[in-house]
Symmetry: C2
Subunit: 266 residues, 2 copies
DNA sequence: CGGGCTGTTGATCAATTTCAACGCTCGTGG
DNA sequence: CCACGAGCGTTGAAATTGATCAACAGCCCG
């Protein structure tokens, strides 16, 4: 097992506290302490819908950043829960390990998304979170988040929305797993990635997958060979072009018709 | 479509406000206004872990009860979200309707469980909730719940736990749908029901299903015929006895081995 | 009593998994 | 610098699982 925990020290040198006044308008994000007020992800992450002073309060919470190398663990199943993690950059998967050794991928996560919500229920993480590329996360002490949200109702409400959205998303995946065929699942998956890349300013029709066929298969409830075949089929139909991990969507409309019952995909 | 909304008037006659002092120690639950403090479901529902005065505050929120007849809707997809619902008695299913008409059951819900969490994200319900037997729910105005939880931290925390548990549960279902075979799925499903009945004081080995084979199939990602065959197979192996909706578990240990990777089922 | 709904079972069919072979890329060590 | 093995991906053929189609039985209710 080569995936050891890559513990970046709690205080990254780049995160030394600088007086607020010393941060000019033009910001070099790697040289200031992490703060929601200056984070380019404000519109994606927890600060959505908060005003400046509320964001400041939230930002005061989030003084630590943590880097995880590709293949490293952000957290492991059973580990004590203290922090939520907001993804600042990178790409991670979460997966539950079964007793018999197999693993089921429960999600792929990108910039601006929140990890660790599952752990609130028992104060233990219920899944592994593993970086699929070098990643960086903000650590949000959960106890303090609850504390602050008492005085910032809109933060509390935003947090509830985020949790609720997670539930809705999972229902979408249940639908996919419960009622779609292989090709429909893959189409849905690609469209979902496409949309999420697009929201983040990347091309919606041209991107690189960060995960293996096996990981896609695990997420979609398929074997890796089936995933591979489904890719080939979509390529034969000239809907996409596949070059290993590089995907190009040629005909997004036709891809949409492949998934059949459109609506559910978050 | 015979399932119209069965709107019980907001104030049930049984729920007329009686002075607190007039409720003696021995309570006839049907004759007092609904209150978490006196509800026999305290240990299952939102009040878990709260002290008396905190429960009182929560209880003051929950002045309405609502009855839903078998087949009636508690809420429909797209309806405006205002209330969470705590199930007081009965049995409901939630399901998402696809454009093409099919429906996917996303959950079966019993006494003490909370419905409506998915709706927080968009202020619209994202699924239908339908009673599988005559049911009664407490209505919890969500705005007020957030308000009160500002001053009752343990209520807020408990609520977060409930939401988190929902996420963990969904991950369990994803695992089931993504990696189990028909028989494993049914075994998992039966064991889950068994445990939930048992927690509520009913027999863990002898119970009646409230849902049809088709609904089970939808939930488990199988066709109703497959569900029926899986039941028959488990019966042939003398692990259970099936008499239509009545299920008797003879050998719970062997049923557990059927599901293989035990752990995940909430 | 008949019709609709639910559930069971059999036979066949289709989709996915499994098993197997092979190609490509990348990093390491001779 | 090349050889080699590991990991990842593709593809084919066979095996398995579950879906589909179809018949029928039981039950409830009008």
């Amino acid at each position: 097992m080569s995936n050891l925990i890559k513990n970046v020290p709690p205080f990254d040198l780049k995160n030394v506290l600088l007086p607020e006044s010393s941060t000019p308008n033009h910001l070099d994000i790697s040289n200031i302490r992490s703060s929601c007020a200056t984070c380019s992800l404000r519109e994606l992450c927890l600060p959505v819908g908060l005003n400046e002073s509320e964001i400041q309060e939230l930002g005061d919470l989030v003084s630590h950043k943590r880097k995880i190398q590709r293949g490293g663990y952000l957290h492991r199943t059973g580990a004590t829960f203290q922090m939520l993690f907001a993804i600042r950059s990178g790409f991670l998967k979460t997966c539950v390990l079964e007793e018999d050794g197999r693993q089921q991928v429960t999600g792929f996560h990108m910039t601006g998304e929140l990890l660790g919500l599952d752990a609130i229920s028992t104060d233990k993480h219920t899944c592994d979170a593993i970086a699929l590329e070098d990643s960086e996360v903000c650590e949000i002490p959960f106890v303090k988040l609850e504390e602050i949200s008492r005085s910032v109702p809109s933060l509390m409400h935003q947090f509830h929305k985020v949790m609720s959205r997670e539930i809705v998303k999972d229902h979408g995946v249940m639908l996919l797993l419960g009622s779609m065929k292989a090709e429909e699942r893959l189409a849905t998956f690609l469209l979902n990635l496409s949309r999420r890349f697009s929201i983040r300013g990347y091309s919606s029709s041209d991107f690189n997958l960060r995960m293996t066929r096996e990981e896609i298969g695990s997420y979609l409830g398929l074997k890796l060979e089936t995933v591979s075949r489904a890719f080939s089929k979509l390529q034969d139909e000239q809907i996409i072009v596949v070059d290993n991990k590089h995907i190009q969507i040629n005909d997004i409309e036709r891809l949409r018709t492949k998934m059949g019952n459109s609506s559910c995909l978050t």
